[in-house]
């Protein structure tokens, strides 16, 4: 069971460096978070399974997942996480720029916990991140580890 003091571990799966930079910046003002950034789907799965370089990686409390990542697509990552017994309890928030209905539908049908379309304006984006944090870290009770 995690306590209030433990920093929140966030896995950010995002291939665009500028989007990653902006997301991290927006998350900075939050309660204490550790943002772990991976840039493609294969790295993301390695991190989650603590393989290779990620042997000592912490288990994330929450995953922010972009859909269009190289090497392994975000949708595949989502599918793998949600079908893996040990990983599927981690809330996955799809954070992507796509507003296509097909993407939204697909994500939810793969059991994404929620879907957020990245606003184009940074101020709005900060507000969205703020709301997301408020909801997931203050309102919601996150599952404990193992």
């Amino acid at each position: 069971m995690r306590t209030q003091q433990d920093p929140i571990e966030i896995l950010l799966v995002e291939d665009s460096p500028s989007d990653a930079f902006i997301t991290r910046e927006a998350l900075k003002e939050a309660p204490v978070v550790n943002v772990h950034l991976v840039q493609d789907g294969v790295e993301a799965m390695a991190f989650l399974r603590r393989e290779g370089d990620y042997e000592n990686a912490p288990r994330p409390d929450i995953i922010l997942l972009d859909l269009n990542t190289p090497r392994k697509d975000g949708r595949e990552v989502l599918s793998e996480i949600k079908t893996d017994h040990s990983l599927r309890s981690i809330p996955v928030i799809v954070l992507t720029s796509s507003s296509a209905e097909s993407d939204i539908h697909h994500a939810y049908s793969l059991q994404a916990n929620c879907y957020i379309t990245k606003p184009s304006d940074f101020t709005h984006f900060k507000e969205v991140i703020r709301s997301m944090e408020n909801f997931w870290f203050n309102c919601v009770t996150l599952p404990g580890h193992d």
Binding site: S16, S18, D19, F21, I22, E25, S97, S98, A100, K118, S120, D121, F122, T123, F125
Partner: protein
């Protein structure tokens, strides 16, 4: 200072949606003219023959009354019927729907005369009484007594008269056809009799009369080649082509063969039974050949048509693939174009926040322009995507109730209507054939423009409708700031704006979208406006 917004001017060449297919089966105008000409000439011949018969009676020239003394003569009344019916038919054949009331009345009187005169004669013949019809006109004495039309002639003329009367009334047009066919059959019977039989008999229809009635019957049928029975014969379809080629054969061949059989029998070439057998075989042979020829033609034409259809289907498939590609391309392009914009806009805003106190006021302005620029670019990309979707996301045109569409628009614009205290009114709106989502876009764009470009007065917007014969004309009138007439054309172009961004926000795509949608529906859109007087936007939608 006029800031004309972005100068992007490329055209999104999206595919054109097929309009409703042209009806291939309509008759070709040359064919129609040929038929009408036949009508006119039948009428002329009827008049000429009738006139000469009348001369025959007036001056006692017997050849003008009958080709041979053993046959019955064409009577004066028949001649009169012939001339009057001929005049009537000629006028009707010439009429393209533009004849005045007076002429129509005249035609009706003529037809009525023919029908009545003939009818009286029929009654005389059937009831064996004398109504005196045969005395009415001078020069009608024959062998010391007034000459009376044969029963069949009278019937024939009566049917023609009725057919002429009922020709143009849509409810009775088919009856007219039937009557004409009957009179043609009667005259054909008489003519066949003349062909096969040399002997005359009492009460026989005169040869001239039977020819005249046959011609008149054909003439009446051909006077309206684009309606009813004749429409199928004149049409461009396989049926029409077959009919035009086969009907003359079916009309003439039995007659010819029958005559040959009769002639051969009379000339003693064979007895009547073998003659009949010969006739039958001849008929069978001729008809099989004609039908076989027809089958071949049909097969050829059908193959050609199937090929054309297949090509059409392939083109349609290609079109739909190309549309899908365009949609995909537009979506991906807009998606990928927005990512660097986020980087620019976001980074600069982060810059502003991080170094808030340390940057001077000029830096603030620079940052503002950068962020603004990025935001505008994003809106432009969205607008381009919307514009390109007009072509790729077309739905088929279906009956759409404009009042419910308008309700939805007003619901969508609720907050801006409330904010501006706008009053939106409308006439009762019809149901039209349209793409609902696109029609909604048009109304929404026009009404929101009316609200946006408002004057000091409370915005009042009225949606009007005018019912024209072939189209609906919609109008959206506002009391806003108006538009100078010299810009009336420009504003429908994509990204054309008349105001600076400071005065009014927006990229200038709304009216371009409206124009594209209305034109796709086959309508027109235009503007009536004066500065300070408000504007009225008109657009038309064709009726199905």
């Amino acid at each position: 200072m006029q800031h004309a917004g972005s100068r992007v001017r490329f055209r999104v060449t999206a595919s054109r949606k097929h309009k409703d297919p042209v009806r291939v089966e309509g008759p070709a105008p040359q064919t129609l003219d040929t038929f009408r000409r036949f009508s006119k000439w039948s009428a002329i011949i009827a008049i000429v023959v009738g006139y000469h018969v009348m001369l025959g009676w007036m001056f006692g020239i017997s050849v003008l009354k009958t080709p041979s003394p053993i046959y019955s003569t064409m009577k004066m009344n028949s001649a009169i019927c012939s001339v009057v019916a001929g005049v009537c038919l000629y006028l009707l054949a010439m009429d393209r729907g533009r004849l005045s009331r007076k002429w129509r009345a005249f035609i009706r009187i003529c037809a009525g005369l023919v029908a009545s005169l003939a009818l009286l004669t029929v009654i005389e013949r059937v009831l064996r009484m004398d109504i005196g019809v045969d005395h009415w006109f001078p020069f009608s004495m024959e062998n010391g007594a007034p000459a009376r039309m044969a029963l069949m002639s009278a019937l024939g003329f009566h049917l023609i008269g009725l057919a002429l009367l009922l020709l143009d009334n849509p409810r009775t047009a088919r009856i007219s056809e039937m009557l004409t066919l009957t009179s043609a059959a009667i005259s054909l019977l008489a003519i066949a009799g003349y062909v096969y039989q040399a002997e005359a008999f009492q009460g026989q229809m005169s040869l001239y009369a039977s020819v005249v009635i046959l011609l008149l019957s054909g003439g009446v049928l051909c006077a309206r080649p684009d309606r009813g029975l004749m429409a199928k014969i004149t049409s461009d379809s396989f049926g029409g082509i077959m009919a035009r080629r086969l009907l003359p054969a079916t009309l003439s061949i039995p007659l010819v063969l029958g005559w040959l059989q009769h002639f051969g029998h009379r000339a003693g070439l064979y007895q009547s039974e073998p003659g009949l057998a010969l006739l039958t075989v001849a008929n069978v042979t001729v008809f099989i050949s004609v039908v076989w020829w027809g089958v071949n033609s049909l097969h050829r034409m059908d193959t050609k048509r199937r090929q054309a259809e297949q090509e059409l289907q392939e083109t349609a498939a290609k079109l739909s693939r190309s549309n899908a590609d365009l949609e995909q391309f537009a979506y991906v392009a807009s998606h990928d174009l927005k990512e660097p914009l986020r980087a620019i806009s976001g980074s600069v805003q982060i810059l502003r926040e991080r170094y808030h106190g340390n940057l001077g006021p000029e830096a603030e302005e620079v940052i503002r322009h950068t962020v603004d620029g990025a935001l505008r670019m994003q809106t432009l990309i969205d607008d381009l995507l919307t514009y390109s979707r007009l072509a790729t996301r077309e739905a088929p045109l279906e009956p759409t109730d404009c009042s419910t569409v308008l309700e939805e628009v007003l619901a969508n614009l609720q907050s801006s209507i409330r904010e501006s205290k706008a009053v939106v009114t409308h006439d009762p709106l019809p149901t039209v054939k349209a793409d609902r989502i696109q029609l909604l876009q048009v109304f929404q764009n026009l009404i929101s423009n009316g609200i946006k470009y408002r004057s000091q007065r409370t915005p009042k917007i009225h949606v009007g409708i005018e019912d024209r014969k072939n189209e609906w004309t919609f109008s959206v009138r506002d009391n806003g700031i108006g538009i100078a007439p010299q810009y009336a054309d420009r504003i429908f172009r994509i990204f054309q704006r008349l105001h600076t961004r400071k005065e009014y926000s927006g990229t200038g795509i709304g009216l371009a979208v409206c124009k594209k949608i209305i034109e796709r529906h086959g309508g027109r859109i235009w503007l009536d406006s004066e500065p300070e007087e408000g504007s009225t936007f008109y657009f038309t939608l064709p009726k199905p």
